[in-house]
């Protein structure tokens, strides 16, 4: 279900995320929804999400050191950042991304 365009095509300065999920698992489904919501709200025109379904490509996650699902990796801008969980704690995600949190926004 890698439905989005390859990472390389993302516009310069865009937020690029790679989401490892187990398609159909409750936490994974929620993570996908939460990540889309966060991206639409905070960088509506400059984000790109690559989705890797570990059930379809199980060895890739293993080789890339992904242990738990869902895991989202912020590929750019650098530095790379790993966030695990269904992203239900949006403030935690924003803090990790160095963005102002919702109350203040």
């Amino acid at each position: 279900m890698n439905e989005s365009v390859p990472t390389g095509d993302a516009p310069k300065g865009a937020y690029v995320f790679r989401l490892y999920l187990a398609d159909g698992a409750p936490n994974s489904v929620r993570a996908l929804a939460n990540l889309y919501a966060i991206c639409r709200r905070h960088f509506p025109d400059s984000h790109h999400i690559e989705i890797i379904d570990v059930l379809k490509d199980p060895l890739r996650a293993l080789e890339e050191g992904i242990l738990v699902t869902p895991t989202v990796v912020k590929v750019s801008p650098e530095p790379e950042l790993q966030i695990i969980g269904n992203l239900s704690d949006e403030d935690e995600v924003l803090r990790a991304l160095g963005l102002p949190q919702r109350e203040m926004a």
């Binding site: 994974s28 895991t71 790993q82 704690d89």
Partner: protein
């Protein structure tokens, strides 16, 4: 669920570690989950890796090692130090997953191990894995930071293993070497089909490792704690006792080195048996041990002399004063002498060392002097088990063993060897002091000699410049004559029967 269906037979996966397979009565439950618990530095990781390596090497069962705490490369490198060819094994049979949590990972909301299991499933299928180790599973669980989630994920793994028919090995830390203190993950032993507790204690300043099977669903197992060591070839577990290996009987008799002693036990020691020599300090146990070793070398048989707490040079010098010359045999390599400081390690480690020496020297005769030194550290029980194993080891290998033990008491019938090992000795010879008529003489008696008739009489043991001898028995008024009284009697007898002979000739008899 992994609840076995009626009619399911529990198959076991041999660990390839002798003592471990003994206490688990065959190894780990195949296709089930085993939990290895212990404090830090207890040897959980080594044991788990060794089971994986042995499975790959000997059972044709490849495996996966998931390292949650230690860097996988380091785990593999540790394996190399035990002589396991990890590079070769990693090509096909063993796959390492570096599952250390990266620093700086941010957590937001709930997650699960579905992804990891999907990856492992694919890998397991690819290499045909039969066994999978989750090393430091507690680290993974602590990431979840929610007791309900921890329990749920653990059961997820547990059920996944059962579905995949993989044999799972979890290692986890427990505090104070006690499973019940692992409150946080207290449910783990309940989930596992087999739970094993490793611990490390310090007794008399010496670290002693022990292992105990806490539970084993559907199988009997040894209940007791058993000592183990991490030696140069990995984990070695002491046997749970109870097993008395049968050895092939030898009809051949070999000399103790003292002809008169051979006579007293019916013509010498049976090859492959053992003899215990007890006596108080200075009684001459080491002298008899030296004589036995010299006799072995004179027959051209390789020998090993293990001495606790006395260095080899002192022993050879002392033996030389009674004409026991070991130097040439040491020079030729026929004899190897090894002096070991008893306090330097636990009795278990001493055993391992002696075992290695045996493998290197391939002796036909061994003297261990004194075996009672083993009990000086780590407690008498462990030492007794070690002494027993040494005896069985020699018996199985057809090696004739002479071992000495310090006897604290004076009455040989109240056996006070610190290890109480006389019951498993084939022959038992006691050197005591006879205080009689103002003299203190050494008296030798055979307390037991399995399979032979033996002299029941007390004999005088004499160490002279020219060797060791045992005097003829002379009795008077129900007492065995010794020392001056015996010599007077001897002289009287000799002057009666033949022309007078010079005093002391008899003393040299056995030493020739």
């Amino acid at each position: 669920m992994s609840v076995p269906k009626r009619g399911d037979v529990l198959h076991k996966l041999a660990s390839g570690i002798e003592g471990f397979d003994d206490i688990t009565m065959g190894g780990l439950p195949e296709g089930r989950t085993t939990l290895l618990m212990g404090g830090p530095g207890c040897g959980k990781t080594v044991l788990a890796l060794q089971i994986l390596v042995n499975g790959a090497l000997h059972l044709g069962a490849p495996g996966i090692f998931v390292a949650f705490e230690e860097n996988a490369r380091r785990v593999s490198a540790n394996g190399e130090t035990f002589g396991w060819n990890m590079d070769e094994l990693e090509k096909k049979e063993i796959y390492f997953v570096d599952a250390c949590i990266r620093p700086g990972v941010v957590r937001s909301g709930a997650f699960d191990v579905t992804g990891l299991l999907a990856g492992l499933e694919a890998k397991a299928r690819a290499i045909g894995a039969k066994t999978i180790v989750f090393d430091a599973i507690d680290v993974l669980l602590s990431m979840l930071d929610d007791p309900a989630a921890e329990c749920r994920e653990l059961y997820r793994i547990h059920e996944w293993l059962a579905r995949q028919q993989l044999t799972g090995i979890f290692t986890t830390k427990v505090e104070d070497n006690h499973p019940s203190t692992a409150q946080r993950y207290g449910f783990m032993p309940f989930m596992a089909d087999c739970a094993v507790l490793l611990s490390q204690r310090v007794t008399d300043r010496v670290a002693v490792r022990t292992i105990r099977v806490v539970k084993y669903r559907g199988s009997p197992h040894a209940l007791n704690e058993v000592p183990f060591v991490i030696g140069p070839a990995g984990v070695e577990v002491g046997s749970s006792n109870g097993v008395h290996p049968e050895s092939q009987p030898f009809d051949e008799r070999i000399s103790t080195g003292v002809e008169r002693v051979d006579d007293m036990i019916g013509g010498g020691l049976y090859r492959g048996t053992n003899i215990l020599i007890t006596g108080s300090s200075g009684a001459g146990k080491s002298m008899l041990a030296g004589k036995f070793i010299e006799a072995s070398c004179r027959r051209g048989e390789r020998a090993l002399f293990v001495s606790f707490d006395e260095n080899s040079r002192d022993i050879t010098r002392d033996l030389a004063t009674i004409s026991i010359n070991l130097a040439p045999h040491l020079g030729s390599g026929l004899l190897r002498m090894e002096a070991i400081r008893s306090e330097a390690a636990s009795s278990e480690e001493h055993f391992m060392r002696v075992k290695r020496l045996i493998a290197e020297q391939e002796p036909r005769c061994i003297a261990v002097d004194p075996i009672s030194a083993l009990s000086r550290v780590g407690g008498g029980l462990a030492a007794r088990a070690v002494a027993e194993r040494l005896i069985y080891l020699c018996r199985n290998a057809g090696i004739t063993l002479l071992f000495t033990s310090l006897l604290e008491g004076v009455d040989p019938h109240l056996e006070t060897t610190t290890l109480h090992i006389s019951t498993i000795a084939d022959s038992w010879m006691q050197i005591s002091y006879a205080l009689l008529h103002g003299e203190r003489n050494r008296a030798l008696s055979i307390i037991k000699s399995r399979g032979s008739k033996h002299s029941t009489q007390l004999r005088e043991l004499i160490f002279g410049d020219t060797g060791i001898s045992v005097a003829d028995p002379y009795t008077a008024g129900g007492e065995v004559l010794m020392g001056t009284l015996r010599m007077e009697k001897e002289n009287a007898v000799h002057s009666e029967s033949r022309r007078p002979v010079s005093a002391g000739t008899n003393h040299e008899e056995g030493g020739k």
